[in-house]
Structures are given as structure tokens and as C-alpha cells.
């Protein structure tokens, strides 16, 4: 396999059939010598994906990106087809097999799939086109500059000759690679696919029941398993009586599996294996188990809330400190203080956690709805005492991910079970298992302090965040704030004195990234508090924000997450224009706005609400988006609608509470997401942009709740500072 100078693209023939181009999406680029050395040392290969141009001219993109509804298989095919200059339908995206020796980076998350892949895929696609043009030019013995590629055909107009990519692929595969950094890319005006709404390739199978999710895996001889886990975190079975459970028709086996610690975080428990899911569930119901409820049996949300409030009133680790927030204020200054509170939240994907594992002699096969197939592979291999390469992981469609399906807990349990069972076994989590043994969005309390002067200008911004820490959970004591302060640290408004502090509060409730991670609460705190300052200043919330979004002539981002004030102002203006910000509303109605940057995208949302006593209704949401260059506008719109509804479910209704060490909600009765009659109409507007693509899976979420809270204030004068919202009469 020849490796090019910058090690960006490699090409080779695969078994004499077609052209193979390897490309790399992330991480440092290796020099070829280093890579050659690394190859000799062990199974290291710098590529994340391969493009295979087949002799029939069709192209496969082999990539490890999980499809969980974001439309990534469509978006990636569009980018590649665009630059390779082939028909969109000629490109198929195949799920890569789990081979860390070939595919280095396999995770799907952080809204990153388009952001990371856009330029590498364009360059790789353009390299394919360039190779085809070169092969044709050599074949006809004409200058390359006289040849043109379009729709998988290279033409030499002067001599009226043409050849298809399929006819050229053999010759192309023997050519040296073009330098990927210099290969000519199309300019925007030449785009036929990028930026044009394209129907998603995964949708037809999703309207007739044929789409294969994890729970739909059916393997000959397979059996089904459920696990009875201790309701409290850290508890375990003392002893159990399985006699009644064994009498349930269809139940085959009952045994205990131990809890697993670091990196897996399983609860352990009593496994019931049966011929069907239902028999396994009935068997579990018939188990009699005495639990040792463990060290966290007295934890409660009420106590945690007090701990968070106490911590928020004390100094924390200083994250940002501009000017001096303690400097003396003029006596005429208006002071504003607010405390915002956020509960634990469950991911509650529609498809509960599940996985199918078949442990055989010396190897294993896994079918997993996962965001991290390589982690599944490592976990299963470790527990089955197999080398990683002896574990094949098939990534199925995911019935929702939202961060939850990054985890390796359910794969670890399934490996423990498969080792005993010896047959293919599908581990099924019931909805109750899923809700009571999730990894939860941290609970948090934010204390904000600010002041405005008589002229209505803010003098200070002091923000103290306390939360249960994702960093603490992963055992990084020096990085407790790592997944807790983003967006608050980059608070974009120009205020001379700014301070951000963070402190973690211990809890036995396992925390995790939940759609948009810390931005789900930091966006609320920042965008509600700026609204509170605007009100204290007696200024219009849009005008107030605009005045503070100042981009100096020599502006440079302080870090990669630092927002460009002009782009933030751009979406703020667009949302205000589209909602008709200055038009008066009747009494009882209100309008609110929030603008926020996360995952590389800028999104402002405006909400209109009607408040009647203790009730309110969201009349509509307008979203204005600058996510840089857009690949598939249809996917951008759909992701925005989705993230807004997901965020509003948390704002309006959802809360996970702990009592006696256990989660109190167990199904959609206690944790009921927004339903069709509660879902407001959403209007999405996309700004034209030439900037690099930003993410879209998450960033429309953070502005939704504060826009609604600010609208409720405008309508009723009530500030909602605790989620989920509860109005007073």
C-alpha cells in the first residue's frame, strides 16, 4: 500500500478490482516514514475511511459512522459524489467493520461527523476525479487540461472521445496520487449536491418496518436475556431465590453477574435467559432477591439540591477572570442576582439499550446499536479473553443515541452473559431498566451576579457553576470542569468584569453527556441572565445583546470554542427579523429570544408564548442558523427541529429525581417527553455562509429553553429559574 507524502490519501488496488483511496478525518497527520515504522511495530494504520471505486463505476464509502437519525450516510455520500463528480445514487455508504488496525477513529458524537469529514472527503473525492482525468488523458495521449469529468464520465471534447470511470479505474489505480492539499476542488457555484436538499437514503426502510435496529437482530438459535439490577447505584444482590422464576415457561437459565467498574460501569445483577423476551421478563418478575442497597442508599435529589445550592454560594475553581468583578460599584448601579437550577435528565432513546453477542471458541460476533463500535469491541474482547481483532462488531441502526449509546455498559453485561450462555444472546433492557440505569445529565446549580449602570450598560458578570461532574465520574480529578463549563467560559458579551467559577458536588448518580452536554444548562444560564440584565437596564433584549456583541477589528478566537461575535449577531438579527420582534403582541402573549454558539454553529431562537394563569402555551419557535457551509439543508432543518423539541421536553416536563438512592421515574408516565399536541410549530431559517461547517446534532438545543423562559417573562413578568418550568399564579 503506497502512502503519499502527507499521508492523507493512499491508493491501491484491492484484489485487482477497482481503486481504493484511504483517508483520514482527525488527529495528527503522520509522515510516511513514521507510518511505515508504525506499521512494522503493530496494527496501526492512519486511516479512518476508504473510498472504493468499483469496476462498474459505482463508489463505496466505507466509514464507521453510526446512523442515529442525523442523516450522516446521506450527507457523506453527497460530499463525496460532489467532488468525485458522480451521480449521488452511484455512491453508497457502507458501515465499516470494527478493525482498529484499519479504522482508527470510529466514534459518532459531539455533532462532529460533518465538521470533521467535510474537507477530507472533498479532497479525497477530488483526488478520485483527478486520477480519472489523468488516466483518460494518458490513454488518449492528450493534455489533462483538455479533459473534463462530469457524472462519472471523462470527456475530451476536441476529439469527441469519452470514457466512464469504470473503464478508467484500472489505469487510475496504477497512477501516483495527486497531492491532496493541491488537488483542485470545485468552487461553491459549481456545487450540484452540497447545499441542495437531498432525500435521506435511510428513510424508505424506516416507513415499512424493514429498517434493522439493534432489537431487530435475529440470529439462528438465539436466546434472550434480561438482568435484574439493584435499584440503587452501587447496590448488589445479597442472595436470591430463583425457584419460581425457573418454573416460568421458556426460562432456560438464571445466574449472577458481578458489577464491573471503571470504563464499563455496570450494575451487575441476576440474569434471566429465556426463549423469548417476554419469558425472560416474566422470569425476572418471579425472582426473589434481597439487595444490599449499598453506600448510596440514602441519596436523594432534595439533599443533592441543597448541596448544590450551598456549593454555589462558595468560591470555586476560577475558570475565567477578566477585570475585577469585586471592584466597587457606583451607588446608582442596579444589582441583579439569580440562581438557576437544573435536574438530572435521562436520555430515554426510543429504542431501549440492547445488544446481541455470540461468543464462540476463539472468536465472537456482536450486533450493536452503538455510537462507539471500537469501544464495544475492546470491552467484549476483554471480558471474553479474546484479542480485539477476534471480535467482529456489526453496527446496526440506532433508535436514538443522544450520547447514551457511547457507553460500554450494556456491551459488557452482554459479554458476561454470552460467556455463560454459549449461544447467540440478545440482552434486552426494558424501558424501566433504561430509565433507572441510565447515565444522567448532571444536576446543576448556577449562581449569577451582575450589575448595570444608570446608562443601562453592564458593569459585571459573575457566574458560579456547581454540578455533579462528568470529569469526576471518569476519574479525572484535575479536570472536574471539563464537560461542565463550555459556553459559560466563552460568554460572548463584552463586559469589562467577568468571572466564572466551578465546583463539583459528589453524587452516586452516574453522569454523562446528554444531547449538547453542558450547553444544555450553560446556554440557559447565560441567555436568561443576559435577559435579566437587559430588563434591569430597561433595555430591549435584542438591542441590549446586539450592543454587547462587539467584534474588534483584530479579533481572533481565544480558543476553538470562542464564538465570533459578528456571526452570533447575524443569527440574532435574523431571528428577530423573522419573528417580527418589534411588532406589538396582545396582553398575555410574550416574545423571548436567545442566541448561542456550540459545536461550531451559531443559533438564535425566538419564542412566542401565551400565558394564562399558571399555564402557558408555546405558540411558535423561530430558529436562525449559521452552521457554516451547509451540506444537506433538509438535514439541518430536521436536526434543528429535533434538538428544539428535545430541549423543550426538558424545559417543560422532564426531571429525574432520586429517592433512597434510586431513580423515582421508571417509564414514560413519570418521564413523559413532549407529545404532538404540545409541540410548537418550528420555523427554521438558514444563513448563507462560506465558513467551515459546524455541527448540527446538538446546537439548536441550548437556545430553546431560555428563549421560552424569556418569552414567559415578557408575557407575565415571571422569571423561571428552575427546570422543568413551573409558573406561579
Amino acid at each position: 500500500m503506497a502512502i503519499s507524502r502527507r499521508n492523507f490519501v493512499v491508493r491501491s488496488t484491492v484484489a485487482g478490482a477497482g481503486l481504493l483511496v484511504g483517508l483520514r478525518f482527525s488527529g495528527p497527520m503522520l509522515l510516511s516514514q513514521e507510518s511505515e515504522k508504525a506499521k512494522k511495530k503493530g496494527p496501526v494504520n492512519p486511516f479512518d475511511a476508504y473510498i472504493h471505486v468499483h469496476p462498474d463505476g459505482n463508489i463505496s464509502l466505507i466509514v464507521a459512522k453510526s446512523e442515529m437519525g442525523q442523516g450522516i450516510k446521506t450527507g457523506l455520500a453527497m460530499i463525496l459524489a460532489e467532488e468525485a463528480d458522480v451521480d449521488f445514487n452511484a455512491v453508497s455508504v457502507e458501515q465499516a467493520e470494527t478493525r482498529p488496525d484499519i479504522y482508527e477513529h470510529m466514534g459518532t458524537g459531539g455533532s462532529g461527523s460533518t465538521m470533521e469529514n467535510f474537507m477530507p472527503l472533498r479532497r479525497a473525492g477530488a483526488s478520485v476525479r483527478e486520477l480519472m482525468i489523468t488516466a483518460a488523458a494518458q490513454k488518449w495521449n492528450v493534455p489533462k487540461t483538455e479533459c473534463e469529468a462530469k457524472q462519472a464520465i471523462v470527456r475530451h471534447t476536441k476529439s469527441s472521445r469519452h470514457a466512464t470511470y469504470g473503464e478508467l479505474v484500472d489505469a487510475a489505480s496504477k497512477l501516483p496520487l495527486p497531492d491532496p492539499e493541491k488537488v483542485p476542488l470545485k468552487n461553491e457555484s459549481q456545487f450540484d449536491l452540497i447545499g441542495h436538499a437531498t432525500p435521506r437514503v435511510d428513510i424508505p426502510s424506516k416507513v415499512n418496518g424493514s429498517a434493522g435496529f439493534g432489537l431487530d437482530v435475529r440470529v439462528p438459535e438465539m436466546v434472550f436475556a434480561v438482568v435484574a439490577r439493584c435499584p440503587t447505584f452501587g447496590g448488589k444482590p445479597l442472595h436470591f431465590d430463583a425457584s419460581k422464576a425457573k418454573a416460568v415457561p421458556g426460562v432456560r437459565d438464571i445466574f449472577e453477574i458481578p458489577a464491573l467498574g471503571k470504563d464499563m460501569y455496570t450494575a451487575g445483577g441476576i440474569v434471566v435467559v429465556a426463549d423469548s423476551t417476554w419469558a425472560a421478563m416474566k422470569g425476572r418478575e418471579a425472582l426473589q432477591i434481597d439487595w444490599d442497597r449499598g453506600p448510596a442508599a440514602s441519596e436523594s435529589s432534595a439533599i443533592l439540591r441543597q448541596s448544590l445550592r450551598t456549593a454555589a454560594s462558595k468560591p470555586g475553581k476560577r475558570i475565567r477572570n477578566d477585570g475585577n468583578v469585586d471592584e466597587a460599584l457606583p451607588s446608582s448601579a442596579k444589582r441583579v442576582e439569580a440562581v438557576y437550577e437544573f435536574p438530572h435528565l435521562a436520555h430515554a432513546t426510543m429504542e431501549p439499550m440492547n445488544i446481541t453477542v455470540h461468543a464462540r471458541a476463539g472468536e465472537a460476533e456482536v450486533w450493536a446499536p452503538t455510537q462507539s463500535p471500537d469501544w464495544v469491541q475492546r470491552t467484549v474482547a476483554k471480558l471474553l479473553d479474546l484479542p480485539s481483532q477476534k471480535v467482529i462488531v456489526h453496527t446496526t441502526l440506532l433508535g436514538g443515541g443522544f450520547g447514551r449509546r457511547y457507553m460500554a455498559d450494556y456491551p459488557a453485561e452482554a459479554a458476561q452473559i454470552a460467556k455463560v450462555v454459549g449461544k447467540p444472546v440478545q440482552l434486552v433492557w426494558s424501558r424501566e431498566d433504561d430509565m433507572t440505569h441510565d447515565f444522567y445529565r448532571p444536576a446543576a446549580c448556577h449562581r449569577m451576579r451582575g450589575a448595570v449602570n444608570q446608562a443601562g450598560h453592564p458593569l459585571l458578570w459573575s457566574h458560579t457553576i456547581t454540578s455533579t461532574s462528568i470529569g469526576a465520574f471518569w476519574g479525572s480529578p484535575d479536570k472536574l470542569e471539563e464537560s461542565e463549563v463550555g459556553g459559560a467560559k466563552q460568554m460572548p458579551y463584552t463586559i469589562r468584569n467577568v468571572r466564572l467559577e466551578y465546583s463539583a458536588v459528589p453524587s452516586s448518580v452516574p453522569p454523562l453527556w446528554w444531547r449538547s452536554v453542558e450547553h444544555s444548562f450553560n446556554g440557559f444560564a447565560v441567555e436568561c441572565f443576559i435577559d435579566e440584565l437587559a430588563a434591569a437596564a430597561g433595555r430591549d433584549p435584542v438591542e441590549f445583546r446586539r450592543g454587547l456583541l462587539v467584534k474588534p477589528a483584530n479579533w481572533k478566537p481565544k480558543d476553538e470554542d470562542d464564538p465570533d461575535p459578528a456571526r452570533l449577531r447575524g443569527v440574532l438579527d435574523l431571528a428577530a427579523e423573522k419573528v417580527g420582534w418589534s411588532k406589538p403582541l396582545p396582553k398575555g402573549k410574550g416574545r423571548g429570544i436567545a442566541s448561542y454558539h456550540s459545536f461550531g454553529s451559531y443559533i438564535a431562537e425566538a419564542a412566542e408564548v401565551t400565558v394564562t394563569g399558571k399555564d402557558f402555551k408555546i405558540d411558535r419557535i423561530i430558529a436562525a442558523i449559521d452552521c457554516g457551509q451547509v451540506v444537506n439543508p433538509e438535514s439541518v432543518r430536521a436536526q434543528a427541529e429535533s434538538a428544539i423539541i428535545y430541549g423543550l421536553s426538558a424545559a417543560l416536563k422532564n426531571e429525574i429525581t432520586i429517592k433512597d438512592g434510586a431513580v423515582e421515574q421508571s417509564n414514560f408516565d413519570g418521564y413523559d417527553p413532549i407529545r404532538i399536541d404540545e409541540a410548537p410549530p418550528i420555523e427554521v431559517h438558514i444563513l448563507k455562509s462560506k465558513e467551515d461547517p459546524g455541527g448540527m446534532g446538538e446546537p439548536a438545543l441550548p437556545p430553546a429553553a431560555p428563549a421560552v423562559a424569556n418569552a414567559i417573562f415578557a408575557a407575565s413578568g415571571q422569571r423561571l429559574r428552575r427546570l422543568p418550568f413551573q409558573l406561579k399564579t
Binding site: M68, G69, Q70, G71, P199, R200, D202, I203, P204, S205, K206, V207, N208, G209, S210, A211, G212, F213, L215, D216, R218, F224, P249, G250, D275, S276, T277, W278, A279, A348, T349, M350, E351, P352, L397, G399, G400, V428, R431, E432, A638, Q639, E641, S642, A643, I644, I645, Y646, S649, N667, F668, D669, D672, P673, I674, R675, I676, D677, A679, P681
Partner: protein, 153 residues
């Protein structure tokens, strides 16, 4: 366990299961008809919706013994080629994201349109209120139902 005769999508099936077994698990685990989804097991999310003699029911709450004499329709029986007006409308409006809830959504919508050929927004709310979509595609679902109704589902 006496065998139970079922008529699913116009095909006869015979299963030997505990008569209390929910239809959902008979479809999924015994007959490998996995289009009908498990979401909550309590009739709260609608992912398991099928038709019994044309009525939308939650198959997770329906004992298999109670449906022996009824005509059962699942998502696989709606059409063989995505030609049902609702399937066409679902594609045209690009409704699904993760797609897991969509078989249940479509079956609820099909039962609605069979009774009410031109449903109002309120009628859609009440017929579809039992179907959760965690990807939040509700306004697309609403549009798709109106579109299919316009095309005479």
C-alpha cells in the same frame, strides 16, 4: 399450551405460546416480524401499534389469546412497496430521523385516516397523542398526515 391461530396481514399463522403473551412479543420473537417495536411495555409510547380489525391498538397490552379471531395488520402489511399514501407522504415530508417510533406512528395515522379521511389538527392531536417521537418530528408527522389525507388515503 394449545396452539393459537392468528391471521396477520392476511396470512394464517399458528403459534404455541402462553396465552397471556402480548401480541408484540409473539410478532417479534416467535414470528420474526420485527417492524412492530417495543418502546415501553405499558401502552405509553405507541411504538408497538398494530391494527385489530382496523382499530389501532397497543400490541404490548394485547394478550395473544384475545386476538385469535381478529384480523391483525402490522406495518409489514401496510404495503409491500412503500405505496401506501402514508408511506409516500412520510417519505415526501422526510419524517423519520432515527425512525424507531415510525412504524407505530404510521399505524396510528392509518387507523385515523381510515375513519376520518380529512382530519383536523385537533383530530390528529387526539389520534396521535399516544405516539412518542423522541426525535421530535411531530410537525412533519402532522404535515405528512395532511398530505396523505389530501391524496385520499
Amino acid at each position: 399450551m394449545a396452539p393459537i391461530q392468528l391471521l396477520i396481514n392476511n396470512s394464517p399463522h399458528e403459534v404455541e405460546v402462553d396465552p397471556d403473551t402480548p401480541l408484540l412479543w409473539v410478532l417479534r420473537d416467535k414470528l420474526n416480524m420485527t417492524g412492530t417495536k417495543y418502546g415501553c411495555g405499558m401502552g405509553l409510547c405507541g411504538a408497538c401499534t398494530v391494527h385489530l380489525d382496523g382499530q389501532a391498538v397497543r400490541s404490548c397490552q394485547t394478550a395473544v389469546s384475545s386476538v385469535a379471531s381478529k384480523k391483525i395488520t402490522t406495518i409489514e402489511g401496510l404495503s409491500v412497496d412503500n405505496s401506501h399514501p402514508l408511506q409516500k407522504a412520510w417519505i415526501a415530508e422526510q419524517v423519520p430521523q432515527c425512525g424507531y417510533c415510525q412504524p407505530g406512528q404510521i399505524m396510528s395515522a392509518a387507523a385515523l385516516l381510515a375513519k376520518t379521511s380529512r382530519p383536523s389538527d385537533q383530530q390528529i392531536d387526539s389520534a396521535m397523542g399516544g405516539n412518542l417521537c423522541r426525535c421530535g418530528m411531530y410537525q412533519r408527522i402532522r404535515r405528512a398526515i395532511h398530505r396523505a389525507a389530501g391524496e385520499g388515503a
